[in-house]
């Protein structure tokens, strides 16, 4: 309890408390883990629309004639070819190819873009970007920015009701500046749930207006607990679990977000060498064949020999089975490979499956293109 004072608060903190949310520390922030219950909120996102406060995430802006060249060198995805109004997922890597953070890059204008970064990494990322920014103007605008995520098959309908003229025409991984509930907003068709939806960047002081308007329109508030089970079903990595400074994007199976052929970014040499030599360990998705719940740090084993560790695990509300992600030697990464998860010294049978665990088709919701 004494640590609560040191935790940071988003502009919606008092709203979460008033809604009866259970608040927990996350990445240095006091955040809602659930309102009514994780399963209920998870279901809302898969079947209707859930509303997340993700204002704890950071936004680092790069401006000036060098902004694009600097970003091109900082992130693993191509930036120069990214047209204004488009978003790409990429990674900041260190010289060893380890992941400093995973980010989305928003190309706002020819000489203006921003990175949306993980809450726990804002200061680290800012220092990293400044160190490599040359003449570009770097600004951490995280505190001035509120961020909501409205996710689920009914998200587009709710946005229309709040005055966004035609959210359905915004394609996946594109954004535009518009007004939501009369508040100027940057709306992007992105998310971290595996369902269709939007992320809404707002002036921090007006975040509550839009949050309340979306609740009023019928969205269900959803906490970090559901956000975690949703992203796990979609096999989206979580920094600090699947990714860290010692893990490379190639080990994590994120090859398609790395411009290995072009190079010219921090970590490119190390990643190219690793690609040529072949990765020694790989991130795999697995499903438990017996009852139980795999959790981060449980050992993954075979014939009594520990092969690696679980990085994330949870019961999948959509599948009704326990699922998880973890690292194993590359030779054990084939789909169908049998593994044991050691849960309280008991070997629980599991097998490697293709990810994502849940696709839009298996959810049955309408797709967002």
């Amino acid at each position: 309890m004494s640590d609560a004072a040191a935790l940071r608060r988003t502009p919606l903190h008092a709203r979460h408390v008033a809604l009866g949310a259970r608040m927990v520390p996350f990445g240095g922030w006091d955040m809602p883990v659930q309102y009514t219950g994780i399963l209920d909120e998870h279901r809302a996102v898969r079947e209707s629309a859930g509303l997340f406060d993700v204002s704890h995430m950071g936004q680092i802006w790069l401006r000036g004639p060098e902004a694009v060249a600097v970003a091109e060198r900082l992130v693993t995805c191509p930036v120069a070819s990214l047209r204004p109004g488009r978003v790409r997922y990429g990674l900041l890597c260190n010289e060893r190819g380890g992941v400093v953070d995973d980010v989305t890059v928003y190309r706002v204008a020819d000489d203006e873009l921003f990175l949306c970064v993980n809450a726990a990494n804002i200061e680290k990322d800012y220092r990293w970007v400044v160190r490599h920014a040359g003449e570009a103007d770097v600004r951490d605008q995280s505190d001035a920015t509120g961020l909501l995520a409205i996710q689920g098959p009914e998200a587009a309908g709710l946005m229309t009701r709040l005055g966004d003229p035609d959210p359905g025409t915004l394609k996946r991984f594109r954004f535009r500046e518009t007004k939501v509930a009369s508040v100027p907003a940057l709306v992007s068709r992105t998310g971290y749930t595996g369902s269709d939806g939007f992320e809404i960047y707002l002036p921090a002081g007006e975040t509550e207006t839009v949050f309340d308007a979306l609740l009023e329109a019928g969205a269900q508030p959803a906490g970090l607990g559901a956000r975690d089970t949703l992203r796990l079903e979609a096999a989206l990595p979580l920094y600090g679990h699947e990714l860290d400074d010692e893990t490379t994007p190639l080990e994590a199976g994120l090859d398609r977000f790395v411009k290995l052929a072009e190079g010219g970014f921090l970590g490119a040499e190390a990643l190219r060498a690793q690609s040529e030599a072949g990765v020694e360990r790989r991130l795999v998705g697995f499903v438990l064949d017996e009852r139980g719940v795999a959790r981060a740090d449980h050992a993954l084993a075979r014939d009594g020999e520990t092969l690696g560790r679980v990085t994330s695990g949870a019961p999948s509300p959509t599948l009704g089975k326990s699922i998880g992600l973890g690292y194993v030697p590359a030779g054990f990464a084939e789909t169908g490979t049998r593994l044991d998860v050691l849960i309280r010294d008991r070997a629980v049978a599991a097998h490697v499956v293709d990810v994502p665990f849940v696709t839009k088709a298996s959810v049955g919701g309408q797709t967002g293109g």
């Binding site: 009866g20 883990v33 219950g37 994780i38 089970t229 949870a314 309280r344």
Partner: protein, 131 residues
């Protein structure tokens, strides 16, 4: 802020289990406070019938979507029944923690039942922890 149901007819432990005398056995489960704190319960691991436990020993595990908690025996004795239905339907603990969500029955070896908290004392104990 939250409302909890602590039936007067039960006794409670500081580890948030309840206990009820049924003939020569004592039935054990988790309190309404415990199930609300845990949230959606997804897995319950119980011991085999015949296991002998001492008061304070962990006898099983209860997992919600986010958390894992040990279950502690409020009294000593031999476990003479376990609620096998919870393997298939762990959510019963959320729905009916004092009824179908019971966990184990113990044939007590000591008179520890009388040392457990009354509903009133347990309610105060919960309140003190929430403040």
């Amino acid at each position: 802020m939250a409302e909890y149901d602590f039936p007067e007819s039960l006794r409670y432990s500081r580890e948030d289990e309840w206990a009820r005398v049924e003939g020569d056995r004592i039935v054990i489960g988790v309190s309404d406070y415990a199930q609300q704190q845990l949230g959606d319960i997804v897995f319950v691991e119980l011991p085999d019938v015949g296991t002998v436990v001492s008061a304070g020993d962990p006898f099983g595990v209860i997992e919600s979507v986010k958390t894992v908690s040990d279950l502690f025996a409020p009294i000593s004795g031999e476990i003479v029944a376990v609620n096998a239905d919870l393997a298939e339907s762990p959510e019963t603990v959320n729905e009916d923690c004092y009824g179908d969500g019971w966990m184990i029955a113990i044939e007590p070896s000591d008179a520890e039942f009388e040392t457990l908290l009354s509903a009133q004392d347990y309610a105060q104990y919960v309140k003190d922890r929430e403040d």
